[in-house]
């Protein structure tokens, strides 16, 4: 699968996850990976897969086509921040674009979704969060 940036992702037994960093000294997480800890100012960061599930912390709907460097196909799309338990709050696209179906606190899970096609017509994927379907 072609992604917008392979360094954002890692494979886990549960499926593809976002790849972040964790500070060995203070436990702070970042996304994407980085070398310095913004919490304790140290430099002991190690790679860590981020949780594939979380809760919606905030949301909006992008209402117009952004200027470049945006390269996506959709003019309008959902955007949110998702709280991943005991890790961090990550900014993400949302697959839902109906305000009536979005609610702060709703459970969501990671998905890789196509957001444009490359020159050869192959879909390029990025990450998004989708509502967890009721059991």
């Amino acid at each position: 699968m072609k992604t917008v940036d392979d360094s954002l992702f890692t494979e886990t037994p549960d499926g593809t996850a976002l790849l972040g960093s964790r500070c060995a000294d203070c436990g702070a997480h970042t996304f994407p990976r980085q070398g310095g800890c913004p919490r304790c100012t140290g430099a002991s960061m190690a790679d860590v897969p981020l949780s594939r599930t979380g809760t919606l912390w905030s949301w909006t709907i992008q209402g117009f086509r952004p200027k470049p460097p945006y390269t996506g196909t959709d003019d309008s799309y959902g955007v949110g921040y998702v709280e991943l338990p005991d890790q961090l709050i990550v900014e993400t696209r949302l697959t839902e674009t109906d305000p009536a179906k979005l609610r702060i606190g709703m459970p969501v899970e990671l998905a890789l979704v196509p957001f444009r096609h490359d020159e050869s017509g192959e879909p390029v994927h990025t990450f998004a969060f989708v509502a967890v379907r009721d059991e």
């Binding site: 940036d5 702070a28 890790q87 961090l88």
Partner: protein, 381 residues
């Protein structure tokens, strides 16, 4: 340590001025400020200034005069004007110089800002996938804030309505047509819950200020306004800021909170003593949040304050009396100094149709911007 006074103010009208460069607008503002102080550029011992998109401030000397003064460029996003002012304040307070000028100006293309992620140390994926959009951030931030403090989104249109009402009274403003809350709420949705008329637009304009030692101020003006304090802060771990691919679960105050508190404490002024305030209103939600973050009211108190008209000209705490960014647009390098310009007018009693009644004595300004910065000032007569 010398105290600091503002003895000259000048402005080029905000909005769109086709055919006039940002630099030319800056030169106009500088000449107006010098004229207001009864001085020439050769009297200036230093200059600080900047723009985001309209050129280097230090090159203005080719037009203003090649006098040999030290002129330092400041580039600090939305805090460019505030940072220039802080630098001037330090230069005078320390005794290094007696008098000088600060200039903020800009001229942006139409439409929302587009930013290169690399300038912010973020991978290109962030822009390519459509997450590096400032308007989105403001929608996301106010959505969470309204949820946390149980505030009805209807108040956002009231804030924009006040901005355009004040702008209609201000001859230097860009948007001078009043809009009703209903028209604002019905304009196209840009980033839920914020509609088009709840956002400011990138624009053009210039402001210059002449500052001097307070004990010299009456040489140049009969109505000096004193810069009691100016403070600047950047973000802490856990504050929620624009252009953030992630934020910490552990929450922290916005840089506004610390910058405002520091400025007010340094001036020995409590928030309740502020008579007129200019606060960053990039969009209506920003004014709502910043009202509380600056300490002018408590979180959750804004809805009643705004609905009761207390933030209007004539209210208990008039906010953005010149129409703010919503009615003036956002020329990044100039906005912070526009706020100071407006407060000087207010404290001089010279604001005309948008004058706050009751002889205001204390003015407060606040800017906020990417990537999580804030600058505040306190002015008194």
């Amino acid at each position: 340590m010398n105290d600091v006074a503002i003895v000259g103010i000048g402005m080029h009208r905000f909005g769109r001025t086709d055919g006039v460069s940002g630099r030319a607008q800056a030169v106009h503002a500088a000449r107006e400020a010098l004229r207001d102080a009864g001085l020439g550029f050769s009297d200036m011992q230093f200059g600080f200034g900047g723009s985001h998109s309209a050129g280097d401030a230090d090159t203005l000397v080719s037009e203003l005069g090649l006098t040999g003064l030290p002129f330092i460029n400041v580039a600090n996003g939305c805090a460019t004007g505030g940072s220039a002012l802080i630098a001037a304040d330090a230069a005078i307070r320390s005794g290094q110089h007696d008098i000088g000028i600060v200039i903020g100006f800009d001229k942006h293309p139409r439409g929302a800002f587009n930013t290169d992620p690399a300038e912010h140390g973020i991978g290109s994926w962030y822009g390519e996938t459509g997450l590096m959009v400032t308007t989105q951030f403001f929608g996301l931030k106010i959505q969470r804030y309204l949820h946390d403090h149980d505030i009805d989104a209807g108040v956002l249109a009231r804030i924009a309505e006040k901005a355009f009402r004040n702008g209609a009274r201000n001859p230097m403003a860009w948007r001078r047509t009043e809009l009703s809350a209903e028209e604002i709420a019905a304009s196209p949705m840009i980033s839920h819950p914020l509609t088009q008329y709840m956002y400011c637009a990138p624009a053009e304009g210039a402001v210059a200020l002449v500052l001097c030692r307070a004990d010299h101020a009456r040489r140049y003006t009969e109505s000096p306004v004193f810069l009691r304090s100016a403070a600047f802060r950047s973000r802490r771990y856990g504050s929620f800021e624009v252009f953030a691919p992630w934020t910490a679960s552990e929450r922290a105050d916005s840089p506004t909170v610390e910058a405002a508190r520091t400025a007010l404490e340094a001036a020995g002024i409590s928030p309740s003593e502020v008579d007129v305030a200019q606060i960053q209103d990039t969009e209506a939600g920003a004014e709502l949040m910043h009202l509380a973050e600056t300490g002018l009211c408590g979180h959750g108190e804004q809805e009643k304050l705004i609905t009761d008209g207390e933030t209007a000209i004539g209210g208990r705490i008039p906010v953005n009396t010149d129409g703010g960014c919503l009615a003036n647009g956002e020329p990044i390098g100039a906005s912070g100094l526009r706020q100071v310009h407006e407060n000087v007018l207010q404290l001089r009693g010279a604001a005309g149709a948008h004058q706050v009644p009751g002889d205001p004595r204390v003015g407060f300004t606040h800017v906020y911007g990417a990537p999580g910065i804030s600058a505040c000032t306190v002015l008194t007569r």
